[in-house]
């Protein structure tokens, strides 16, 4: 029965610095496997659409401009994404990866949260509202 069981910790706390990391001023290095924002490599994509089918939040839309010529545009809703990385594992061609440096994703306007990935002219065509293509 003691009265001051935590005295050891308290006295050593006076000697050591506080453990708080003052976040915006001190940033720790992120681990390698951190699941930040999604990145897509259009070179390897074959258009199977498994990523869009398996996403639990409906955050991926694969817009097919021309399946034979492998022209696809990936519309990624980062506001719906739960960062589960299921799409990364569903894709058999290794097109998708989650960044480990882009994780500070807070914005003040919602419009910046929808990303379009693809070749420049393909993305421009999609953004222009050309709706004659299919999407998955």
């Amino acid at each position: 029965m003691r009265f001051a069981a935590m005295i050891g910790d308290i006295t050593s706390a006076l000697i050591h610095r506080p453990v708080t990391e003052q976040y915006p001023f001190e940033r720790r290095e992120t681990p390698e496997r951190l699941r930040g924002i999604l990145h897509w490599d259009p070179e390897k994509c074959i258009g199977c659409g498994l990523c869009a089918k398996d996403c639990p939040a409906g955050a991926i839309e694969l817009i097919v401009l021309d399946k034979k010529a492998k022209r696809f545009v990936l519309r990624y809703h980062s506001d719906r994404c739960t960062f589960c990385a299921q799409c990364v594992f569903s894709c058999r061609q290794d097109c998708l990866s989650m960044s480990n440096v882009d994780w500070e994703l807070a914005v003040t306007e919602r419009s910046g949260l929808i990303c379009h990935y693809g070749e420049k002219k393909d993305v421009e065509e999609v953004l222009a509202g050309n709706l004659t293509h299919d999407s998955v």
Binding site: A5, D9, I10, R33, R35, P56, A85, S90
Partner: protein, 398 residues
């Protein structure tokens, strides 16, 4: 606010908004001075309709839905679902994947128990212990972030295996973290057993003997602290627990101090199993191919979540969405013991008794419809449920 006085007693509402509760629920405690005369619980504030929502999503999507039933036991929900669906599809997962699943499960148990320990210390008013134990919890969260990429909601499971491998380079840092945590756990065990004032708040409070624990249906560390010899990892080993067995941690006293001691001692078992797994990790693939449509059938599975026995029932009708998934979480079993034990104690003990069962309210909201007039069961559609809710609240405020 009106006061409710009947003779000499009045009711104190704890919740839905209260600093003692981390999640909303409502306890109506009738006190006479400081002694509790009666207690009544009303749950359901965190009900989100997850079981119904799983019926319209594919098997892969449901994994992530069910993982978010709870934040602190998310891995075990995901793991149970995967084990049950793999059993239905009759797919054999590699030994390495099962071992990694158990590794994550034990790390999650450490995370959950450290969080609970800090919260209990805070409810007792011992803020120093709260701050220090949460500081040490950061170590296990860092380990989990290194392994999986996220500190909570690790999403390590995938139907057919695990997503993340444990390679040699990470083993060293995991073992360092575990050694540090073991040293600190010894220290906390000593603090909890010898600090005179903390003992005054936990010794012989909320005492439940073995018979009462069995009758009330308590599970998990709450029951083991009363001497009930039940641990699903030992009785019905799942995943890799037959290769890496667990020894049971029991205590006879059944009071709040016993519950604290049982949970802290369980941590030592977790450390031991983690070291064993890291030393003897079996080789194999990480994932196995799973069909998109799971064949028809139904299965049940029980696992040991950090709070007790978690129970899943899954029925498939051969399509790519499940027919019915039913989840029964451990907190709802332990909740009745709080109501029964609170009577006769002081008001200051009620948050402590509640914290002693390690409540996780977001897990425990389920909807059960009991139709007693005829014995048939009735199935509601989503729109019927919604309309019922609207009518109920309109009638209440009318």
């Amino acid at each position: 606010m009106e006061e409710h006085k009947t003779a000499q007693s009045f009711t104190v509402p704890i919740g839905p908004q209260h600093p003692a509760l981390k999640e909303p629920s409502h306890f109506r405690i009738t006190v006479d001075g400081e002694i509790v005369k009666d207690a009544y619980v009303r749950l359901g504030y965190a009900h989100r309709g997850i079981e119904k929502a799983t019926e319209s999503r594919t098997w892969t999507q449901n994994l992530y839905m069910l993982e978010r039933i709870c934040g602190i036991c998310s891995h075990i929900h995901g793991m149970t679902y995967c084990l049950a669906v793999e059993r239905l599809a009759q797919v054999q997962v590699s030994a390495r994947a099962q071992a990694i699943r158990v590794l994550f499960a034990e790390l999650e148990r450490i995370h959950s128990h450290m969080l609970w320990f800090g919260v209990t210390a805070h409810e007792a008013g011992f803020d120093t212990l709260f701050m220090y134990s949460w500081r040490d919890r950061e170590t296990v969260m860092d380990i989990l972030e290194e392994l999986s990429g996220n500190r909570v909601n690790y999403s390590a499971n995938i139907l057919g295996g695990v997503k993340f491998d444990v390679d040699e380079s990470r083993v060293e840092s995991i073992l360092d973290g575990i050694n540090f945590l073991e040293e600190r756990t010894h220290y906390y065990l000593e603090v909890v057993s010898t600090d005179a004032l903390f003992l005054q708040r936990t010794h012989e409070i909320g005492t439940m003997n073995r018979r009462e624990a069995e009758v009330l249906g308590t599970v998990g560390p709450t029951a083991r602290a009363s001497g009930v010899n039940r641990d699903i990892r030992i009785e019905a080993p799942y995943a890799a627990y037959d290769q890496f067995p667990i020894q049971i941690t029991l205590d006879d006293s059944g009071d709040l101090k016993a519950r604290v001691l049982v949970r802290l001692r369980e941590l030592f078992e977790s450390y031991r199993v983690i070291r064993q797994i890291l030393k003897n990790l079996p080789s194999g693939d990480l994932t196995v191919r799973m069909p998109r449509r799971i064949q028809q059938g139904e299965t049940v599975l029980r696992v040991e979540a950090p709070r007790g026995e978690l129970f899943y029932f899954i029925r498939s009708n051969g399509s790519d969405t499940p027919d019915r998934i039913k989840v029964r979480t451990p907190t709802i079993c332990n909740m009745m013991s709080v109501i029964k034990l609170a009577v006769g104690h002081q008001l200051a003990d009620v948050p402590m008794i509640l914290a002693g069962i390690d409540p996780c309210f977001s897990c425990n909201d389920r909807m059960v419809m009991i139709n007693q007039s005829n014995k048939t069961s009735h199935r509601w559609r989503w729109e019927e449920l919604r309309q019922h809710g609207i009518n109920y609240y309109q009638q209440r405020t009318a």
